[in-house]
Amino acid sequence: MNKWLKNHIYLLFLLPGLLLYGAFMVYPLLSALVYSLFSWDGLVRGGFSGLANFKTVLTGVAYKERFWGAFLHNCLFFIITFGLQTTIGLYLAVKLSRKRPGMEFFQTVYFTPYTLSMVVVGYLWLQLLNPTWGALTQGLRMVGLSGWVHPWLGQKSTALITVILVNFWRWIGFPILVFKAGLMGIPVEMNEAAIVDGANRAQIFRYVTLPLLIPTITMVTILTFIWDFNAFDLVFVMQGSSGNPHYATDLLATLFYRTAFGDSTTGGAAGEIGIASAIAVLMFIIIGVASYFGIKQMQKKEVVY
């Protein structure tokens, strides 16, 4: 026994980690799959119901509109964030990675909001954007642009984009940071060789830097996708669990929250566990498929010189 243990001492090393990870991560994630296949009565599991919960979410009268609406909002969330960070963010990363005075300072400043809690970010911007006494409103009035003042978070046409931009304000420091780290990792000889060949700056960026940076960009994109399809806190804090006004900022995670734990705004019935689990599984599938193709793409595009 003693000898066996000595040969398998690694089991002792693995035990605490596997217990913790298995019980509180693997088990809940796998159970979510199982939950979605059963009918539920409150916290009590009923009979096996196949894909009925999925059918309710995707085609049922009460859920169809909400689910596809939230899905669309998550897509916009991702597309706008991705679009901005791979243009402005990448541009800034390139500029900040050059050796010029002050670049470290700007880097530090741009990253600062990332250290704030989403709850603080949400409330801060809720105050700043308030249409009667918010600082932005008052500022616009002071410079004679009162016509620009809108209840950005209160009207359907602008609420979602405002939330997305507030999220972007907090987030952008992270992609810049990672892009910059990626740029710093590109060997100087690469650029020097291109200069010797007579390439100009734009050409060097397009044909040397960018291909080498694609894995980093893909990685950041995958992380952004996962994060944006899980976004919850900001909408919950700023727009409530129903994504006001009238579901204009509703996301998959807030829909899930309402379905699973009840709607705090209406005090509606809580705990549609089967249906909520189906929503979670659909989110899981969306994230899983996107990450899979993202990683595939990354491996394909990885350039070896």
Binding site: Y10, P16, M25, V26, T108, S117, L128, A135, W169
Partner: protein
């Protein structure tokens, strides 16, 4: 003479163009910096103002720099309790995570056994899957274990969700340490635990720091799990406590902003004084992930 002017002309133009582009670059960078920093400055200034002052003088300096509001937030709005809970939960989660992930990573990096690769992949899979998607079963599990509305529900969730990234970082790091080091120790009669504790631990300190930073920020700021797990006032962490506090003091803006400043200050100060470690920790976590 003529040659010189011919040579100087394009140089001059080029230099001017270069100067102009540098000027525009800095103007753009400063403009962006203002977008990032102004809301934060406003946040701090407003915390020192009375409601009347906020209305009359939204952008100026406060009339007096009194910390009265902060004291009120600390005592009346229970921020002392929230801080205590946030610190306790974050520190115990970190201790648990560092303990379990170091042991697991050591086993995966140093021992050859049949399931090694499978287990490593099992841990790795968790990097891409947010634990939030398993919240319902997790909620029911916590309920069955009698851990709902306790700090342990948060600690166990955080530590478990931190495992994938931490095991990944630590395993990678441990593999770079030459085998000869531990073999020499083994010859000297050191046990496996002794090797890990006495020889490896001091060497993997940078990786442990990375694991700490990668997890500390999201845990400290987490709102989702406390929202679902914690009901008692005396167990609330800062983000959850703050959201309640916002509901109670919707008209007392001085209090609101003081609360936000106090909630943000620990990480902000940590970031300002350790931005190098912060940045390198977060990027290595992300790039390797």
């Amino acid at each position: 003479m003529i040659d010189q002017t011919l040579l100087a002309k394009p140089d001059e133009g080029q230099r001017r163009r270069k100067n102009a582009s540098a000027f525009f670059l800095y103007a753009f960078l400063i403009f962006l910096a203002l977008i990032f920093i102004c809301p934060l400055i406003l946040l701090i200034l407003t915390a020192f103002k009375s409601t009347r002052e906020i209305f009359m003088n939204p952008f100026g300096l406060p009339a007096s720099w009194s910390f009265k509001t902060f004291v009120r937030v600390w005592q009346k709005a229970h921020f002392n309790i929230y801080f205590f809970n946030s610190i306790l939960v974050t520190l115990i989660s970190l201790a648990l995570l560092l303990f379990t992930s170091t042991l697991s990573a050591y086993a995966l990096a140093r021992f050859k056994f049949r399931l090694n690769n499978f287990l490593f992949m099992l841990f790795l899979a968790g990097i891409m899957i947010p634990i939030r998607l398993g919240i319902l079963p997790l909620f029911i599990l916590m309920n069955e274990l009698g851990l709902l509305d306790s700090r342990w529900s948060l600690i166990l969730t955080y530590a478990a969700s931190g495992m994938p990234m931490s095991v990944f970082i630590l395993t990678g790091f441990l593999k770079t340490i030459p085998l000869e080091l531990s073999e020499a120790a083994k010859v000297d009669g050191c046990s496996e635990f002794g090797i890990l504790y006495r020889i490896m631990l001091p060497l993997i300190r940078p990786a442990l720091a990375t694991v700490t930073i990668v997890n500390f920020v999201p845990w400290w700021n987490d709102f989702f799990f406390p929202l679902l797990f914690i009901k008692s006032e005396k167990l609330k962490t800062i983000p959850l406590g703050m959201s309640i506090f916002f509901g109670q003091y919707t008209t007392d803006w001085g209090m609101l902003f003081a609360g936000m400043v106090m909630a943000s200050l620990p990480l902000l100060l940590l970031y300002i004084f350790m931005s190098k470690q912060f940045i390198s920790g977060l990027t290595s976590g992300a790039v390797k992930g």
